[in-house]
Every structure is written in structure tokens, then in C-alpha cells.
Symmetry: C2
Subunit: 121 residues, 2 copies
């Protein structure tokens, strides 16, 4: 990769690291890590989510038991103050990353067209 591209990518990574969104996310991660109950609750929740995803990717249907398990855990983490703030902040970060990617891949879209362009053809 050209040096200029690499420099610009590092500058963007630095700006991301210094952004309010990243700083808030990092602070919440630390808060969760320091709280044994929250930290166990979150890692259980993530494990159940990942297991469900794995099943779906392998074309398997999750059982009703597994779905209600996942829902119960989702409600639990939603009610937990720090974890629910962490998940909101993750949503915000995911929007930032999406917006960033739209800007960065604009040159390629000018070559290949956006999905919307395809539909309008």
C-alpha cells in the first residue's frame, strides 16, 4: 500500500480513537470489566448470541428453548445500567463506522455504482 494511503489510514484510526464515541465506549468497557457480575452477564449473553448465529449460519433452526433463553438474557442485559449503556454506545459506534465506510468507499462506488443505482437501471 502506498505510504500516503497508509498515513491517512493511521490518521483516521487516531481520530477514531480520540472521538467521543470511542472514548465513551472504552470507558464503559472498563466499567464492565471492573464489575464481576456485569462482566459475567455480558459474556454469557455474547456466548448465547454467538451460538445462535453459528446455528443460523449452518442452516440449523434454534429450538424454542434456546430462543426464549436468548430473549430472557437480552431482557436482563437491557435492564443492567452499565451494560445497556455499553450496548447503546456500540450502536452509536456502529453508525460511525458505517458513515466512515460510506465516505472511504466513495471512489469505488463511482466505478461500480451504488446498490441504489443498480436498482434504478
Amino acid at each position: 500500500m502506498a505510504e500516503n494511503l497508509q498515513d491517512k489510514a493511521h490518521e483516521l484510526a487516531k481520530a477514531l480513537r480520540e472521538s467521543d464515541e470511542f472514548q465513551a465506549l472504552q470507558a464503559l468497557h472498563e466499567e464492565v470489566e471492573e464489575d464481576d457480575v456485569a462482566s459475567r452477564m455480558l459474556s454469557n449473553f455474547r456466548k448465547v448470541q454467538l451460538d445462535l448465529q453459528d446455528k443460523q449460519m449452518q442452516g440449523e433452526q434454534p429450538t424454542e428453548e434456546e430462543i426464549s433463553q436468548a430473549q430472557k438474557q437480552f431482557e436482563m442485559v437491557q435492564q443492567h445500567d452499565v451494560i445497556s449503556r455499553l450496548m447503546e454506545e456500540e450502536q452509536r459506534m456502529s453508525t460511525v463506522i458505517g458513515d466512515m465506510n460510506k465516505i472511504i468507499t466513495e471512489p469505488l462506488e463511482s466505478l461500480y455504482g451504488t446498490p441504489e443505482d443498480e436498482q434504478n437501471q
Copy 2:
């Protein structure tokens, strides 16, 4: 998104647009567009690839006929000078984008760990 982040993303997009890899890709796209045979050959090839992908995503098995069709078209485009160069350049661009993404998402990896870290736990 913070203004600084937005500026840095635009600077990176500009660097990408000015990179040798992008310039070469753009030139090859123009070459293909000006060549009716090449342009028809490429869009047929892309259509067959997309149809195959659609089938696989819906969990359908493509027929032997469809697979041999796709293979024949792949060999055809491989033998076409401009299209084969275009596809090589697309490979190169895809590596650039992958390397860029690795740099940009480094801050997030420091929070969530890389897939390799997970496996080593």
C-alpha cells in the same frame, strides 16, 4: 460523526482515489467500457456469478449445467487481455481495502481483541 473524523475519512478517500491502484483500476474500467465485446462479456460473467451467489445464499444447489457455464465463462474472461488485467487489478484493490480496514479498526480491536486473540484464550 465528529467533524475531525469526517475530514480524515475524506482525506483517506482522496488518497485512495489518487493511488496507483485506483488509477489503474479506473483506466481499465474505461478501457472495458469503450470495448463493446469486452463490456458485454464482463457483464454476462458478473450476472452468472451473481446468480450463483444468490442461489447459494438461499441454500439452493446450483445445477451441473450452471457450474460448467460459470467455469466456461471464467476461462473466457481470463483469456481476455483487458478483462483479465481488470480482475487482477480488482484483486490488488481488494488487498488495499483490506489493509486499510485493518489499520482503521485497530482501535476497536484493542477493545474487543482480534479473532486470533479469541482463539488463544
